[in-house]
């Protein structure tokens, strides 16, 4: 629907000639590094290695001296959406980020310019049980549906600690409505809200099972009312929806791990988890993932015990660790965040890059499609001018599904044209305002 030019270009890509990126330093993340080529056809990586046969009809991109890595994956962001929190209630699992995707959020393009190709768009952390969250690819120029990472499992966001236990001190904005404080007001209350929600969801699931049984027996029965709040919780219980849990302190990390055990589901990702290093063994034993910052801390009391070694320490204890941005700005240099994990904790190149690629992909359940450079995977690739773990590295091009969505040269060359267009529009707006102004003040 939008930006016909690009949309058509993307459609045409299905029949487009194959692309070969040649002479590059290829950082596969899962299969080491080599100097060679990558063959891309129909949006997929077909071949990657030191020697790749270049098809006659291929478009060849010479990447001599440049570095290619898999598209960066950010498992926790709030870009590309027009809402972040449904903070009015403590269980808001009926809301869905997918409803409010904004494919025109400029943060998408800026993230692309930082080499990011896939992000999870998460509900905020205002409440114990947050909203349904979704994974997108940064296909800038496509409409909301065109962003969706097709086949990615859905996510439900949960939150522990300070944010969900705020009692809602905000005065009511509605005249006549009192600002009744929200339950819960304590950490134990947060856990209680989650437990109650799961118990309610289990009862709801059982009601549907009873109905199905009656129906199969041929009895006249009215189906239960569908409840959009409980359905996603049932999906978590049944393992059809990933649980991502915002948490900071070691005690609440343990609390939520126990809760997950009680209801027999796995936590795909503990988010922030700044004290994760204190309970890394327990996290690993529970099979939960962890996605953290390297050196962003002390922005609230919960974040005082953070250390930059968190990622490395958890990784060494066997936790599946990734880094996330939670910020449209930090998102643009996640490669530097990964580099910090080399400095603090001595991770290898592959381990550091895995924090922002394959590990994040696993936490989002999309590692079969993205997160490394391997034949058969989506051609989501980033070309850097220098090694991506260098502070000096710049993103030159970004490919998603075999299509370039960011090209540094093209961006630079379009700037003058855009400036001119903007100037012309400003001029026209000014003229219009001038034309309208006198009639308003015409003497009677």
């Amino acid at each position: 629907m939008m930006r016909f030019g690009l949309a058509l270009a993307a459609a045409a890509a299905l029949a487009a000639p194959p692309i070969v990126i040649r002479n590059a330093n290829v950082l596969t993340v899962t299969k080491g590094r080599f100097q060679g080529s990558i063959l891309v056809r129909d949006g997929k990586i077909v071949e990657a290695g030191p020697k790749v046969l270049v098809p006659d009809d291929a478009r060849v991109i010479d990447a001599s001296g440049q570095y290619v890595m898999p598209g960066i994956i950010d498992p926790h962001s709030h870009i590309a959406s027009e809402s972040t929190n449904e903070g009015s209630i403590s269980v808001s699992s009926m809301v869905s980020m997918e409803d409010v995707l904004d494919p025109e959020d400029i943060a998408i393009y800026r993230a692309l310019a930082g080499g990011v190709t896939t992000v999870a768009v998460l509900h905020g952390s205002a409440n114990a049980v947050g909203g349904q969250s979704t994974v997108i690819k940064l296909r800038w120029g496509r409409d909301a549906r065109g962003l969706l990472f097709e086949g990615a499992p859905p996510i439900l966001k949960f939150a522990m600690g300070e944010n969900p236990k705020r009692r809602g001190s905000t005065p009511s904005q509605i005249p006549g409505v009192s600002g009744t404080p929200r339950y819960p007001a304590s950490r134990m209350g947060v856990e209680d809200v989650m437990r109650q929600a799961f118990l309610e969801a289990a009862a709801y699931r059982d009601a549907w099972r009873r109905y199905e049984a009656r129906r199969q027996r041929g009895e006249a029965a009215l189906p239960p009312r569908r409840d959009l709040k409980l359905e996603p919780l049932v999906e978590v219980l049944e393992g059809r929806r990933l649980a991502h849990v915002h948490c900071y302190r070691a005690d609440e990390i343990l609390a939520v791990l126990r809760l997950a055990q009680e209801f027999h589901f796995k936590i795909a990702a503990l988010i922030h988890v700044l004290e994760g290093y204190k309970v890394a063994r327990e996290i690993a034993q529970a099979g939960a993932g962890a996605t953290t910052f390297t050196d962003w801390w002390a922005y609230k009391v919960e974040a005082y015990d953070a250390i930059p070694y968190n990622a490395a320490l958890m990784l060494r204890k066997g936790v599946l660790v990734s880094l996330n941005s939670d910020s449209a700005e930090l998102m643009r240099h996640l490669n530097q965040e990964a580099a910090k994990a080399v400095k603090y904790g001595g991770l290898s190149e592959d381990e550091a890059l895995a924090l922002i690629t394959i590990n994040a992909a696993k936490q989002l359940g999309v590692d079969g499609r993205v997160g490394s450079i391997e034949p058969g995977k989506d051609a989501d690739l980033v070309i850097f001018d220098k090694h991506p773990l260098s502070n000096y590295a710049k993103v030159l091009r970004v490919m998603i599904d075999g299509e370039f969505y960011f090209d540094r040269d093209r961006d630079m060359s379009r700037r003058a044209e855009l400036e001119a267009r903007k100037k012309a529009l400003l001029e026209r707006a000014r003229e219009r305002e001038k034309k309208q102004a006198p009639s308003r003040r015409r003497p009677s």
């Binding site: 629907m1 939008m2 027009e82 809402s83 972040t84 929190n85 449904e86 903070g87 009015s88 209630i89 808001s92 009926m94 809301v95 869905s96 980020m97 409803d99 409010v100 995707l101 904004d102 494919p103 025109e104 205002a126 909203g131 409409d143 909301a144 549906r145 809602g168 905000t170 005065p171 009511s172 904005q173 509605i174 005249p175 006549g176 409505v177 009192s178 600002g179 009744t180 006249a220 009215l222 189906p223 009312r225 569908r226 409840d227 959009l228 709040k229 855009l418 267009r421 903007k422 529009l425 400003l426 026209r428 707006a429 305002e433 009639s439 308003r440 015409r442 009677s444």
Partner: protein
């Protein structure tokens, strides 16, 4: 103006009129350069080049005059005296607009505790009917008639699912006489309450509406089930909010930017709504999708502008500038694509401003014929009333506008409007905003 304010005139108005020898733009057929329109008892009795004028008819000599079907305002609060200025429907502001403040005439007593979820039916008053609220004494009716409007679709507008609209004639002695069709549709907004009460976000409102439609379907099933099996089953509780949802023949959803149009089209398809989108300022980018979906559009004539007291130094983004610049090209784009659309004038307070707003669409490529259709036959079609409104045809309601020139020209004056066959003359055009005195026609925000 005093005619209505003072109540019924002493003598009954004539019931037979003949507008003789005028240019008649029928819309249903060719333009008659010298035609006669015969009006009797509120209906169009005859129209044509050779219509015999009966002796009892009051004759209006039509030389130099043009007769059009009366204009229809496709979305308004006209006739609802308590209606205040409503939420903007353009740009990002639309979503976070005006909190749902219950008005005495339209909503029940103020809620006392925040809504905890969809079950509390927040900001929902689907049982409120515009037809029950209208009054011929609303002074805005007169301003609308002065601009050539004879008919409006009017809605209770406060809340998320605010209430049932009505198609009304813009004059009448008693409210009941004004109603042409009720209910005409359910007016929906995406109003949010922040963290204070559910729903506090755009996604919360959408989840809420989704749950309401699921609930309505379940309510329907439950009532049917109970009707078949009353013995041994508990009766479903009566729910006036869901009764209103089930009763509405269509739903009006706000969508101004292209992203919002795309979002609401998917939402309407998912919920299987008979939807009409309103706002639509960036529909020029979504015309093909609208055509494909077969969803009609109500285009706001209140074109987006920079706020008058905004910082003159502030440089706006290219996207915002383009949004404003290209909004008036929407009607032309919709006409080209064959999307059914109508106009509405909410936020426009004078006939002069109205003509100016239409002219911006004409300058952006809309033909005068297409513009006229968007004020007449198209809204009649959208609301399922093309068999009685929207063109000058024998048997249709005698809602007409008579001008001394082409409509939508700044110099053209509306001479008369006919509403249900009754003739009204427009107000003398007020000099624009005399110092120290508000324009008489300006809407008063309460």
């Amino acid at each position: 103006m005093l005619l209505l304010a003072a109540g019924a005139p002493a003598a009954p108005p004539p019931s037979v009129y003949a507008i003789r020898g005028a240019r008649v733009v029928t819309l249903s057929g060719p333009v008659l350069e010298a035609g006669t329109v015969l009006i009797r008892d509120g209906l169009i009795q005859e129209v044509g080049a050779n219509v015999a004028v009966p002796p009892e008819a009051w004759v209006i000599e039509g030389r130099g005059l043009t007769v059009y079907p009366g204009l229809i305002d496709a979305l308004s609060s006209l006739g609802i005296p308590e209606a205040a200025a409503t939420a903007p429907t353009t740009g990002r502001g639309a979503v976070r607009a005006a909190p749902a403040q219950p008005a005495p005439a339209q909503a029940p007593a103020a809620e006392t505790r925040p809504a905890q979820g969809p079950e509390d039916r927040p900001s929902t008053t689907t049982w409120v009917r515009a037809a029950d609220l209208i009054s011929p004494a609303d002074r805005r009716l007169e301003t609308a008639r002065s601009a050539g409007f004879t008919t409006a679709v009017t809605f209770p507008q406060r809340g998320i699912l605010a209430g049932q609209g009505a198609v009304i004639a813009l004059a009448g002695e008693r409210p009941g006489q004004m109603v042409i069709r009720s209910p005409a549709g359910l007016y929906a907004t995406l109003t949010t309450a922040g963290f204070a009460s559910f729903p506090g976000s755009l996604m919360g409102v959408m989840a809420y509406i989704r749950q309401v439609y699921l609930d309505a379907e379940h309510y329907r099933l439950a009532k049917e089930f109970y009707a078949r099996n009353p013995a041994g089953n508990r009766r479903p509780a009566y729910d006036r909010a869901l009764e209103g949802v089930l009763e509405a023949p269509r739903v009006l959803l706000p969508a101004s930017r292209a992203v919002e149009i795309d979002r609401m089209l998917r939402f309407a398809a998912e919920l299987k709504l008979n939807a009409v989108l309103y706002g639509a300022h960036e529909a020029h980018r979504a015309a093909a999708a609208l055509k494909k979906a077969g969803v009609p559009v109500l285009v706001s004539l209140k074109w987006p502008e920079r706020e008058r007291d905004s910082d003159p130094e502030q440089i706006e983004s290219l996207r915002v500038l383009e949004f404003r610049e290209l909004a008036p090209s929407t009607p032309a784009a919709l006409a080209r694509e064959g999307v059914r659309f109508a106009f509405y004038t909410e936020g426009i307070s004078s006939p002069r401003e109205f003509v100016r707003a239409v002219r911006r669409a004409l300058e952006a490529g809309l033909t005068p014929e297409a513009a006229l259709r968007a004020f007449t036959l198209s809204p009649a079609e959208i609301y399922g009333l093309a068999d009685r409104l929207g063109s000058i045809e024998k048997g249709k309601i005698a809602n007409l506008v008579v001008t001394d020139g082409e409509l939508f020209q700044e110099k053209t004056r509306v001479k008369y409007v006919f509403i249900d066959g009754v003739k009204y003359e427009p107000l003398p055009e007020a000099p624009p905003e005399e110092a120290g005195r508000p324009e008489p026609s300006r809407e008063v925000a309460r």
